[in-house]
């Protein structure tokens, strides 16, 4: 046990992932810069850099934002989620080059400091048409910076998974700011049906995917037991759970996962301690419940990560009446040992 257990190390899949990130960014930059040189040769180097990296960043952001819901809809997209943080950091770096060059180009070398200049040069805050769109980009960049800086698991632990998650949910706010940054900036001076259409299309796709997975999740939370037996809730028949897999169920407004493995049944919380991944969509591998998102592992009978790791999730008591699986709705303290229910096939 534990031989497979690694948190953040390089491995083959991550290397392939990173190679594709690098290659895609290169293809984008070469296409944008090449086409601009061919069709609009009087451009300046600074403008070329600002625009190439600004647009690259927004494209990468779209890819990042579709990966989440796609992998909720179909687990075959999960490998894309696995190393999404590298995509996020790459996007931040592209945005930083764009924002840094813009800040230098438009706001430095004046009679006031550049950050003050960014906020005060254009004071038409009450007009949409004249709004200082750079300010929106600036706040978005700060959010992206905080996310990139805390993307390592070290921060996840130190900030607690909950506040980390809250911080990283701000990506949607950053996305909104960036969309406004572009619509109130570049698009006002270079109005084009094509570019407006393409960003609107991106927005519709992202929104639709999120609404569809959101409603799926909400449905899940409304699962109710159809039978209560002396304080035990009926979950499902034993045959409904595939081998080494789980059935997700709701007790006390909490999601739990009931696993079937090796002629045993165990129930643990559905929420992974890492980033809240759905353990019930995971699989028992080498005797451990393995999270589908990044592969954190837990022992099914006590909710503990195998040593040397220390994560623990709550466990639940189960009982079997005929072929019917029942759960006691009360969560046991995280890491509590519960004897698995043993059954014969």
């Amino acid at each position: 046990m534990g031989v497979n257990y690694q948190t953040v190390l390089w491995n083959r899949n991550k290397k392939i992932y990173d190679r594709w990130i690098g290659l895609s960014m290169l293809i984008y930059l070469i296409s944008f810069i090449g086409l601009t040189f061919i069709t609009n040769v009087q451009t300046s180097v600074e403008t070329l850099i600002i625009r190439a990296f600004g647009t690259l960043a927004i494209v990468l952001l779209h890819i990042i934002l579709v990966i989440g819901p796609l992998s909720r809809i179909n687990t075959r997209f999960l490998p894309l989620l696995y190393n999404r943080r590298h995509l996020g950091v790459s996007m931040f770096l592209a945005a930083l080059i764009h924002g840094g060059f813009s800040l230098f180009q438009f706001h430095t070398l004046g009679n006031v400091n550049p950050i003050y200049a960014l906020f005060s040069s254009n004071m038409d805050y009450n007009s949409l048409k004249n709004f200082p769109f750079q300010v929106l980009g600036f706040f978005a960049l700060i959010i992206l910076f905080l996310m990139a800086a805390t993307s390592h698991d070290f921060w996840l632990k130190n900030l607690s998974a909950k506040s980390w998650k809250r911080l990283h949910m701000m990506v949607y706010f950053a996305y909104a700011l960036i969309i406004m940054h572009v619509f109130l900036g570049s698009f006002q001076q270079q109005p084009s049906l094509w570019s407006t259409a393409i960003l609107s299309f991106g927005f519709v796709v992202i929104t639709a995917l999120h609404i569809s997975t959101g409603s799926k999740e909400r449905k899940l939370d409304h699962i109710k037991t159809t039978d209560t037996n002396e304080g035990w809730d009926y979950v499902c028949d034993i045959d409904e759970i595939p081998e080494d897999r789980a059935k997700i169920f709701i007790v006390d407004n909490e999601r739990i996962a009931v696993f079937k493995y090796n002629n045993k049944l165990s129930a643990i919380s559905n929420v992974c301690k890492h980033q809240g991944g759905p353990l019930g969509e995971g699989k028992v591998v080498d005797g451990c419940v393995t999270c589908p998102w990044h592969g954190y592992q837990y022992l099914p009978h006590n909710g503990q990560s195998p040593p040397p790791f220390t994560e623990q999730v709550s466990t639940y008591r189960l009982k079997l009446i005929d072929k019917k699986v029942y759960v006691s709705p009360k969560a046991l303290p995280e890491g509590t040992e519960v004897d698995p229910v043993i059954f014969n096939n």
């Binding site: 497979n4 491995n11 899949n13 991550k14 895609s24 293809i27 984008y28 296409s31 944008f32 086409l35 601009t36 069709t39 609009n40 040769v41 009087q42 451009t43 300046s44 600074e46 403008t47 625009r51 647009t55 494209v59 796609l70 179909n74 687990t75 075959r76 997209f77 490998p79 894309l80 190393n83 180009q105 438009f106 706001h107 070398l109 004046g110 009679n111 006031v112 200049a117 960014l118 040069s121 254009n122 004071m123 048409k129 200082p132 769109f133 900036g185 570049s186 001076q189 270079q190 109005p191 084009s192 094509w194 570019s195 393409i198 897999r245 699989k283 591998v285 393995t290 589908p292 592969g295």
Partner: protein, 264 residues
Amino acid sequence: MKEKDDFFIGYIDEISNKTKVTLKTFVSLSLGFLILIAIVFALTQNTFKNSSFELTTSTKITGVYHEMPYPMLKVKTDKNEFKTIMLLGFGKLSANPFLKKIKRQTPNLSGSMLSIEGNLIYYNGKTLLQITSDEKITLLEKANPNRVPKAEYIAKNIELQGEIIDPKCYFGVMKPGNGKIHRSCAVLCISGGIPPVLATTDQNNISEYYIVTDLEGKPINKAILPYIGKPSIVSGTIYKLEDWYQLRISTNHIKELHLPSNIY
């Protein structure tokens, strides 16, 4: 592999074939979109002007210093032909800080022959010079009042449609050097003392440029900041000084047009 066993663990190398197909499709689609978006964003850029800024080359020019009311140098280009070159400082600053030293030595500088080394900026018949150090200004001949160009009255109460721009960026340093994208930068330049200029274009697409001053022909900087980078109608009195026009205005007479600025 059976579908229900299709389970990806990042740190284990094997990936089921079905997952591989999904990933390949996703990556190909993403690359397709990436290229499509690069095409769209690249081709929807406005056409850049052929304005120039010689960032890495310095040029020495010699001429008669005068102020209208911003520092200018009248340079002889040919027999009886002159060009008035607008002087600018480094970054988003006017030439004045760089002229301080020589003005201390020669209090009445207007009418003096100066030789200045700097970086040229030029577009559409107008030339400007960026001065990066006060060491690069040399006095050749002391002031001769007869050499100072005189402002020639042209007309008053004239309405002109255009955009107030900062000439440094507009005539070469930045692309685009006008409009909304560039507005904050232009505001910073003009508040740093760079002369505001009204750029106009007539029906035949001929552009004319007017150096903007207050009603008395004195520098105007702070008061004009809210009107920069917006298409407007500006009315005032026109003077001519050599090859530049001067427009004397009161900011009360600027009307914003609420048009996109890309027409200029």
